[in-house]
Symmetry: D2
Subunit: 357 residues, 4 copies
Amino acid sequence: MTKRSPDFATMVLILHPWATRQEIDHLTQLIEEKALEWALHPGEVRNQIHVFGNLSQETEASWRTQPGVQQVYGLAKPYKLANKTHRKSNTRIPIGSQQLGSEDLVVIGGPCALESEEQGTTAALMLRDIGLEIMRASAFKPRTSPYSFQGLGVDGLHILSRIRQRTGMLVETEVMDVRDVEIAAELVDVVRIGARNMQNFDLLKEMARVQTPVILKRGASNTIREFLLATEYILQGNPNVILCERGIRSFETAYRNTLDVGAIAVLKQETHLPVIADPSHAAGNKTLVPALSLAAVAAGADGLIVEVHPNPAVALSDGDQSLYPHQFMNLMDDLRKVGAAVGRRVLRHRPARSLSR
Amino acid sequence: MTKRSPDFATMVLILHPWATRQEIDHLTQLIEEKALEWALHPGEVRNQIHVFGNLSQETEASWRTQPGVQQVYGLAKPYKLANKTHRKSNTRIPIGSQQLGSEDLVVIGGPCALESEEQGTTAALMLRDIGLEIMRASAFKPRTSPYSFQGLGVDGLHILSRIRQRTGMLVETEVMDVRDVEIAAELVDVVRIGARNMQNFDLLKEMARVQTPVILKRGASNTIREFLLATEYILQGNPNVILCERGIRSFETAYRNTLDVGAIAVLKQETHLPVIADPSHAAGNKTLVPALSLAAVAAGADGLIVEVHPNPAVALSDGDQSLYPHQFMNLMDDLRKVGAAVGRRVLRHRPARSLSR
Amino acid sequence: MTKRSPDFATMVLILHPWATRQEIDHLTQLIEEKALEWALHPGEVRNQIHVFGNLSQETEASWRTQPGVQQVYGLAKPYKLANKTHRKSNTRIPIGSQQLGSEDLVVIGGPCALESEEQGTTAALMLRDIGLEIMRASAFKPRTSPYSFQGLGVDGLHILSRIRQRTGMLVETEVMDVRDVEIAAELVDVVRIGARNMQNFDLLKEMARVQTPVILKRGASNTIREFLLATEYILQGNPNVILCERGIRSFETAYRNTLDVGAIAVLKQETHLPVIADPSHAAGNKTLVPALSLAAVAAGADGLIVEVHPNPAVALSDGDQSLYPHQFMNLMDDLRKVGAAVGRRVLRHRPARSLSR
Amino acid sequence: MTKRSPDFATMVLILHPWATRQEIDHLTQLIEEKALEWALHPGEVRNQIHVFGNLSQETEASWRTQPGVQQVYGLAKPYKLANKTHRKSNTRIPIGSQQLGSEDLVVIGGPCALESEEQGTTAALMLRDIGLEIMRASAFKPRTSPYSFQGLGVDGLHILSRIRQRTGMLVETEVMDVRDVEIAAELVDVVRIGARNMQNFDLLKEMARVQTPVILKRGASNTIREFLLATEYILQGNPNVILCERGIRSFETAYRNTLDVGAIAVLKQETHLPVIADPSHAAGNKTLVPALSLAAVAAGADGLIVEVHPNPAVALSDGDQSLYPHQFMNLMDDLRKVGAAVGRRVLRHRPARSLSR
């Protein structure tokens, strides 16, 4: 077995059954011009050319459109920085006294939207008492309809910052507009890119310019491959990427989205980045949140982001999927049990810690 | 709040924006001829007629096609016998010394296909040693291609029966053909209807004619509602129905199917029937089976059906998703831990029991 | 370029990054024991073994489970008889005076279900006057709920046969139960396998035992590949297979199913068998049927099967998607125009023809 | 039938089977506090409260979370400006000498990406000769991988503007970043929002600030309802919105996406806005583009946006789905025939026209 450079790769060109000798000659010349090696193999229905060498500059499309070519198989993984083979150990991101990506099970809780300084402060104090260290709350709200509550905007970021100072809770919020990335990265502890923006590439590129940890939510209809490729945009400059499975769009209508626990298991095999789950948006209904939370942890999730509201009945958004405080406390108890069963540690009560990041 | 008969239901007819007065009069007459009550309510874009009374004889289609009607909302649940409101307590089905549907976590293990009497006996003895009481093994194989191994057929049923006698293990197998239901029900302990046959209504009707417990697997693209409606066919005569979530078809290709843990949670809310999961067919790859198994149990599954083979490398089918015996033993250990965390009891070692059914 | 037997094929084994030298040696020995050729190619992330020779006995699963193997690419098309490369010319199936699979555009119309001899006769005469030669009408009804109308059963087959004699119309109906195939094949002109039974392999095998033309409807969630593999079961004995695209299950809820016109185009490229479309079941709503019918023909469909009812408002099933006679006549006029634009011929009025098959 | 204000709407609250009298009283009080009317209707399984009045301020979520409520049906259409009931006549948008939204069939052609001034000019002249008036070419490229060609950016916009001046062709291009909307709106004739950005709400809001016609592409996994709601953001300030169906994500892998012709038909029923189709991105393969183009037009599309490249074999992106010039000319001929069959007019050759917008 001859030694080859790490850039060595293989590509298989499946030829049309009616590919002509001239077309095949043209292809092999093209391959040789690119200093690549090739071998022609007759196939049952159609012949194949196997190409070897440094294919990093090649695209499947450029080959698929050559006369005589029917299909192209490029067999190397397209994502590099997120790939487990790229790093020896898993990425660990400190969240308060815990390490996301270690045996710690990190739970982020809070209301869907930040509605007011009072509501946010009440929620933060409630969560602190329950033993959480970080609160979610969206200052900007992506809404399917322009006629729905759109969030407090940049003012909300400043409110979150004040709540952070006053309560000692870390804060997490979503950013939708490239123009808000810098200020958000400065004012909050963790920024989130929502499912609808998973392939908003300009937003991903802005995130590569800051060092704040970023939760990237999987698009409701994006493949695991696309999900990992999206992280590559952020990883160009920011290594603190957290993947979040939040349910995929399927034909089922009994809940909002299908929580893809298989994706959690695959991601833990494929990447060194931490993986969390959002059971609330998958369920779209508070009665399913506990079961989905436990399932995600059993499947290998490093953490959860759960919607809990001091009073869901008056929530301005997603009240139907937000847990009541007592429901959330019961869930934390169950998480400690299931977490322990799979070797995870859940904070038992609020530890003393500095607020410095 | 006036008392009404239990048959009392409501239906909402959404009218076309351009529905004429004559069409509306025609509709209200039709309603009155059927001894139903109605109320006309103007809507923002279109008017509505709300119909009240015993609608058990009405079909949405017959109303949707009336002139002037645009949509029909029939708001009552269409499945009756499977509905939780139909029975006080959950259905419990005895499997060996356990009760499927109770706090017992019932694990069914075994090879995808029965390949020979020797292979089946080896598997049965291995599983008995691990502490299982029931073995899965398909005598009939539904294969996407006619060029794949099709199973041993009826001979396989007799082999399973002999293995049952000799090893004391209970046996579970799939039935695909209406002509095989009677003999299978006689020779094995639990029969299975595969995902592809979930809506093979003639097969469902045959299952209503026997009393053997039936595992009904959810079609890879069937809704929970369709799943519960399919059980109604069997429940007409056979109360021993076990629902099995085995993954749904989605756009994701990193595994075979998307295990729908949300469906497990919804089913436990909606029906009194036991719910199990098949992580092996969802994963299509042994490396994902442990994570999916634990997730299903955490989500509330009453049991699992897992593929394990004495030597997957030589399996005639699904070898890639069958666990090696030592992997299965590790999984059983993890299931005991996670099961305990959610209040489930897993058999620790093989109990003494009679072989009589 | 050396000559090879037509059975010559290629398979690529992608090895684990950590595959050992021993594992690789074991694999190459295994390959040689099977009289296959191989070549080892280092890959960017992982090495590969390319295997050449007669692989018709090999299954991906048996290789994927070998120690050291991570993935298997088997690059040959798995369906043989349906494959265009298998026959020079397209299969043509005579339907009355037309040839399905030629430039003739064959339209099958009729009610969803046969409700009575009177309803069926009325429909047949109406269709004959419009210029059709074959009527659809289901004697057996697959119903999602056991509480819905289940059809007239075998009596219905005899009614269809009498209608056939009396009106001179050919008849088409669905068969669901293996026990009904023989009698149906005898009494009607074309039998149909419904979408839910596309992978009811015992039913497919029974169809291989008769010579009656069979319309095989694509399962609402089956891939084109699975669709073509299902035809292989019938083609083992019966060459008269007609493929029918009837809409796939997607996340969209504005209509019942998504008519997959891309599948029609792909099937016309891949197979020599005739391809028709069922716009009625895709739409689930009569207002969309004309647009879907024209789209299917523009995409290359050889024919259509459309639901039309003398009086949809009183139809026992699918009334909401059945066209009124005048709507169907308008559709036929539009089909003549669009058909002509894509080189298809639509019957202008009923030709004289013998009733003998 | 009493007259009501146009704001009058209806909502149905489905109560839990175990809803208490107190919960029901609480609900009816809440309703009356909001000056809404109500009626209590016992249901088969659960009781219902029907609420009437001006519900424009109400959200389903806020009601679904009230104690005792299990489900909420809000029966009015949520999109207002795009709704057909909102305008008497269809919106018509002038594109060169044609009116998009009239009987004119408007075809936009061109390369996927603008690669250089030379390539763009060559393409523009070629398209002008074929008889087109507007060219597509992306200056900004959304790429799944950061390692793919990312487009020429703002320089590309200036190149397009020069090509526009020199050739007299109108130009269409995609905008991804809110910061580029103003300059793009100034330099090109039609701007496009790609499928991945359909719910990038900040980008939609920016589009409401300009008057340039906007092509909004449907997200590959967005429902028709979400699609129409997204237009509402733009319609707040910009009436020139063009809907573009470009294929939805399904389980099928024989092509890139499933062209949803049913959506085209539904949109033509639901909205007054023009609807076009992008067969190239749906197909992902040039061999399927002609069939999909004809199907879209037969289904009612007002126009098409098709990828055609002077030399696809050297295209920097999507070369595999771009047509060769001669293939595109053949397609135009077929479009004239099928267009005529459905009452559409296709430009026969380039008309004289001023370049002023």
